[in-house]
């Protein structure tokens, strides 16, 4: 192993990437863990917003629908980097002001919570549209059958609407998840030590830019590959009961 790295001229890179100091590998992995934590949180928070948003847009009153239209339009119109700056500073400022007003003094806002909140609000706008489309794609007769058999609304949501829309929503949601993993990199701008910021620091300290950014790229790629496999399984499950579009296959 050592010899192989030596012949390939990679022994220096291997040292730089080693998990224990003076290598920076541990820092990168910590950054990756932070990124994933935020991506998970933001995606989940976004899904929650999206489900409420989709229901509100489809079944809500005119005022709720207008408010949701403003939300999805504004969020999708403004570049994410700008949104992150606005939501992060506005959000932490509002919390601090409220805290000071209540006499607690300034509070330290956890980077993870802030990141989840900021990206979650962004994801929510896109989720709203993905889920709205998926719910609309459900054959109306299936929801009518649930109604005709006396299913209460929440049970219909759980037993019919969500499983029936999954096959329509999965491709869009898979996209959103991958976007969430990569949007975490934008949080570097507010000083949150996720994978990209850690990489930049490691690269800056060692001047080994190529090594570290290539390593970070590989980590992002690994996330994508695992996600792809995961969503392929979800989609297979969601499409159970539907004939395959490929000829001669079920």
């Amino acid at each position: 192993m050592e010899n192989l790295l030596d012949t390939l001229g990679l022994s220096q890179s291997a040292q730089l990437l080693s998990l224990s100091p003076p290598g920076w590998g541990g820092n990168l992995l910590r950054g990756l863990a932070n990124s994933l934590q935020i991506a998970f949180g933001a995606f989940g928070f976004g899904l929650l917003i999206g489900l409420f948003g989709a229901y509100g847009k489809l079944y809500g009153g005119p005022i709720l629908r207008d408010l949701l239209a403003i939300y999805t339009t504004v969020i999708r119109a403004v570049p994410e980097l700008v949104l992150i700056l606005i939501l992060y500073y506005v959000g932490s400022d509002l919390i601090n002001q409220a805290s000071v007003a209540m006499g607690y003094g300034r509070v330290e806002i956890s980077g993870v919570v802030a990141g989840i909140w900021v990206l979650g609000v962004v994801q929510g706008a896109y989720s709203t549209e993905v889920l709205r489309g998926a719910i609309q794609a459900i054959p109306p007769g299936q929801l009518e059958a649930a109604r005709a058999f006396g299913m209460p609304p929440l049970m219909t949501l759980r037993r019919v609407t969500i499983p029936a829309m999954m096959s329509f929503a999965t491709p869009g949601l898979a996209n959103l998840w991958l976007i969430a993993t990569k949007d975490t990199a934008l949080l570097a701008i507010v000083g949150f030590s996720e994978l990209t910021l850690e990489t930049r620091q490691a690269a800056g300290s060692t001047r080994a830019y190529f090594t570290f950014f290539l390593a970070a790229g590989a980590l992002y790629l690994i996330i994508t590959l695992f996600s792809g496999a995961f969503f392929a399984r979800i989609e297979k499950w969601a499409r159970r009961g539907q004939p395959s579009l490929k000829e001669g296959k079920r």
Binding site: G141, A145, A148, G150, R240, R250
Partner: protein, 263 residues
Amino acid sequence: MTAQARQTNAPAPADMAILVEDLHKSFGALEVLKGVSLSARKGDVVAIIGGSGSGKSTLLRCINFLETPTSGRITVAGEEIAMRRDGSPADRRQIERIRTRLGMVFQAFNLWTHRTLLENVIEVPVHVLKTPRAEAIARARILLERVGLADKADTFPAFLSGGQQQRAAIARALAVDPSAMLFDEPTSALDPELVGEVLTVIRDLAAEGRTMLLVTHEMKFAREVASHVVYLFEGQIEEQGPPDQLFGAPQSARLKQFLQTVG
């Protein structure tokens, strides 16, 4: 069997399965039902016939409030459905409870495509009626057997013919042990060669004394299984009576003409 029952005196509420009184329904300015009253006692098979746009499906769908009536009164198994001024059900729990007593069969089957036939049949008993799962499954297997689909229990609806799907939908409706069944043109979406298998199942149900309201275009079938036939024309009952009278000696000119056109 029930034809004579109908001719006896004023209906005793005790054996009244469905009672519709002065039902009106408008879609915007269009009045689809203009004061329809009809009743079905336990064991009655009431066939509702009429041309396209006569309001027969709307009438059926108003009974379980899939459509909101504009005005009128609907009583199911002796319990009047509480309505708000605008016709919507006043008590969500009441209407949900009554809906579980009315097994509905749709023109387009409307099986839940993400569930197998067995899962479709046990869905309402297990989750709405809270029947123990094992009991619901045992019953569902008997019902699937009955409609000739025992070997398809674990198949998803999309892989079955229309006739098989509709028979499964009938099993789903039977699974709630309904006090009355509502059939909304159950054979209209089927290929002609598949109609027979579904009608056979419905005929068996009629023979065992199930209460049914049946909107249909199958005149021969209506004549054969119905105990009472209602002819709707432009949102009103134009003529009604026992099938032999209605099909054999129609009184109204419109019904005569209708029967001629549908053969």
